[in-house]
């Protein structure tokens, strides 16, 4: 009997879940808030400030979507997720989208039944060494002791890289980034390896950040991006094009400061007009009104502004644009055209 009830409940939940997933946009509008999955805290990417207001690079994506869909960047319910709970939170419908420095991989996109809408940060695994070691390239790390988080893809990347270059290393296994930081500072390892953005954030917290360098070699591809559930392509389009709007706005020179002015009348650039809804009906095509992108941009600013404010060179984290520069500036950030 119990088993039947259990299966029945499962089926019912599945049916309701399937029905609900089909119209995330309607759900969000009816609810009046966007449920956005973020990390429980990662420097620069997502963390609540002293007043409990969420801020960060990933948080800005949530706010932009909320502004585009609901007209209010503050009507976001941030659902903190850990690395272990993030995918179930999205799959079960607890959150409408996940903006949580998640690497876009084949199996996550296909097997876990998610859709990555794009890449908002191109990351990659790097090495940090003390300046006193006198190392300028990862190729000189033969025989080094390496602090490495166990059970992560970084561990496998490290092994691959050293084998490929015929070098030896001695791993010092660590559990968390905090532990890695302590071990590295205590001199338990010559070099610490993790994602380059993580290295920069870690180094920013050191007492003497200038005594440590991040080596130029990036040994893996970690494209981080927001993702949504399979099966609701309309919603997926909204999130994808909101992200693209931020990127395109930087390319077109639309900022949070001048967006109101540019949207007031037609400009000389047709693409700017289409983006800001003064020409064409792009908003209508994704089920929103014409001003959707204007709202998103005035809420958080364009991609470059978001980057500079949260993780850019003027912040303690001090990340350079690097790969994340616009394609015209030598990066690989490339949004499809708004047409």
């Amino acid at each position: 009997m119990k088993k039947t009830v259990f299966l029945g409940a499962l089926t019912a939940a599945g049916l309701v879940g399937g029905a609900a997933a089909a119209a995330t946009l309607d759900d969000v509008k009816a609810r009046g808030t966007l449920n956005c999955g973020v990390t429980t805290g990662l420097v620069g990417f997502a963390a609540p400030d002293a007043n409990g207001v969420w801020e960060g690079f990933d948080v800005a994506v949530c706010r932009a979507v909320a502004a585009a869909v609901l007209g209010d960047p503050t009507s976001v319910e941030f659902v903190p997720t850990t690395g272990k709970t993030r995918f179930t939170a999205l799959a079960s419908g607890e959150v409408d989208m996940l903006a949580r420095n998640t690497t876009w991989t084949f199996s996550r996109d296909t097997d876990l039944k998610f859709d990555f809408v794009g890449v908002n940060y191109y990351d990659g695994q790097g090495f940090m060494v003390p300046k006193s070691l006198g190392v300028t390239s990862a190729k000189e790390l033969d025989g080094a002791t390496v602090c490495i988080q166990t059970g992560t893809t970084t561990e496998l990347n490290l092994a691959d890289y050293f084998r490929k270059n015929n070098m030896n290393y001695e791993p010092v296994p660590i559990e968390t980034n905090a532990e890695g930081q302590q071990q590295y500072l205590a001199g338990a390892c010559d070099t610490y390896t993790t994602d380059a953005s993580g290295l920069a954030a870690t180094r920013a917290a050191f007492e003497n950040p200038t005594e440590h360098v991040i080596l130029p070699e990036i040994i893996s591809k970690e494209p981080l991006g927001p993702l949504v559930r399979h099966g609701d392509n309309e919603w997926e389009d909204i999130v994808r094009w909101t992200l693209n709007a931020l990127i395109t706005a930087e390319e077109l020179g639309v900022t949070s400061a001048n967006v109101a002015e540019l949207a007031a009348g037609k400009t000389d650039s047709p693409e700017t007009n289409r983006l800001l809804g003064t020409e064409g009906n792009l908003g209508e095509m994704i089920g929103l009104d014409a001003d959707w992108a204007v709202r998103a941009l005035s809420a958080v600013g364009n991609y470059g502004e978001v980057f500079e404010k949260n993780i850019g060179e003027k912040t303690p984290i001090g990340l350079a644009r690097g790969l994340n520069a616009q394609w015209a500036d030598g990066g690989i950030l490339y949004s499809p055209p708004f047409r």
Partner: protein, 429 residues
């Protein structure tokens, strides 16, 4: 007889002489406690050296501590190379550590008041012999007051919940003449029906005497640890007793239900149960049904603690001599009476150290909820505070503070239990 022949004898009492220097005061204490033998003397010197070096190395860290600074970098500038703690993180983020980052500041008085009232409420239970029994009425009311204070909302909700409980008890009393089992069932059904009907009333009177409501997901910090600890320990005691008695029951179905429950729960790590509460339940419930996360976690931790407490109490029951059971039977007491008056008072007394052990362990285990992305005190430290650009890199100060809070609480519990054991000691040793 002339006076000269008489041997010397003292005509007056000598004044009390001071004891030898080695047999008095500090020197005696030192000799007896620290230098009673060569080996002990050596150990004392070594221990003293270690203690001294600890103080010397940790002392400046405390003394140079910075209490007022906007960020870790500013702290380091102020210290200017000296060793020193950056306690400023505590002064700036104390509210987040205690209440979480979303509990509205102007409402901090509510959980604080609930915390103070907690002591008023548990005092009559802890010091039964010394306080008038009438105070227990407040203890009974406390859960509803605390709920109203912490979560806010209309006062109708907790009042109706209380009335439902009273109604259930009334039904239980009325049907007790039939059989104890039937009475318990009838009481539960009665309360459920009452709550179901009350649901219509509370819906319409949502604004009556309402405090500003605060959602469960907005709670955090040490408050969550305390809430989980207090609620789960107090709930798991009665459940544990029932499970322990059920496991010893002669009725096979009840016995096996209890055995399976206890063995299953004890065989599964708490963290797994928490993941079930957080993640797996979300798959079974239709989207949109928000089954309060704190409630889910409370249910799981209570189940976990009940199973452990049941085994502790079963140990107490097993330790009683068979004669006690037979004595109760021979007095003509029925099962409920013999348990209430003869068996349980003795068994529980034996079980106190074990129960306290489980309670302290459970209280510390509440920090595990940080793994399922709840912001208890450890979750607050590891998540928002260490991830803020200002405080990234402060570890000792924050975790030391958390450790201090837990130490105070757990040491208090353990001291009380030792006192209680002495109070209840009736045998002659």
């Amino acid at each position: 007889m002339s006076k000269d022949n008489i041997a010397f004898h003292r005509t007056h009492m000598l004044p009390e002489a001071p004891p030898p220097a080695t047999e008095t005061g500090a020197i005696k204490w030192l000799r007896e406690n620290l230098f009673s033998s060569v080996a002990n003397g050596l150990l004392t010197v070594v221990a003293g050296y270690l203690l001294l070096s600890l103080v010397i190395s940790a002392g400046p860290w405390f003394l140079n501590g910075i209490w007022d600074s906007p960020s870790l970098t500013a702290c380091r500038e102020m210290l200017d190379g000296r060793t020193g703690a950056c306690f400023a993180v505590l002064t700036e983020r104390w509210n987040q550590l205690l209440f979480g980052f979303k509990y509205p500041d102007e409402l901090y008085w509510r959980p604080t008041l609930a915390f103070v009232l907690l002591f008023v409420a548990i005092a009559p239970v802890l010091f039964v012999k010394f306080l008038p029994h009438q105070l227990l009425i407040f203890t009974g009311l406390y859960p509803f007051i605390a709920y109203w204070l912490i979560w806010g909302g209309s006062i109708i909700v907790p009042v109706m919940a209380l009335l439902g409980v009273l109604f259930g008890v009334l039904v239980y009393r009325r049907t007790l003449t039939v059989s104890a089992g039937v009475a318990v069932l009838a009481g539960i059904v009665g309360a459920m029906v009452f709550w179901w009907i009350a649901g219509f009333v509370t819906g319409s009177a949502a604004g009556f005497l309402a405090l500003e409501p605060v959602a469960s997901r907005d709670m955090g910090g040490f408050m969550v640890n305390l809430m989980l600890g207090v609620v789960c320990v107090s709930l798991s005691l009665p459940f544990g007793i029932m499970l322990a008695l059920g496991r010893q029951s002669d009725m096979p179905i009840i016995k096996w239900i209890c055995v399976v429950f206890i063995e299953f729960i004890r065989g599964v790590p708490l963290i797994t149960l928490l993941f079930v509460a957080n993640v797996v339940l979300a798959y079974f419930l239709p989207p949109g049904t928000t089954f309060d996360l704190i409630l889910r976690v409370i249910i799981m931790i209570t189940m976990f603690a009940s199973a452990y407490i049941a085994e502790v109490i079963r140990g107490g029951l097993a330790a009683l001599p068979r004669g006690q059971y037979e004595a109760a039977d021979s007095l003509g007491l029925d099962y409920a009476q013999s348990m209430q008056f003869i068996i349980l008072p003795q068994a529980l007394k034996i079980s106190i150290p074990g129960i306290v052990n489980v309670a302290v362990g459970l209280f510390k285990d509440t920090t595990l909820v940080s793994v399922i992305s709840m912001f208890d005190i450890v979750g607050m430290i590891r998540g928002p505070i260490l991830a803020s650009a200002e405080w990234n890199g402060v570890y000792w100060e924050l975790f030391g503070f958390a450790a201090l809070l837990f130490f105070i609480t757990c040491y208090g519990i353990s001291q009380y239990s030792q006192w209680l054991e002495r109070q209840l000691q009736t045998d002659h040793r």
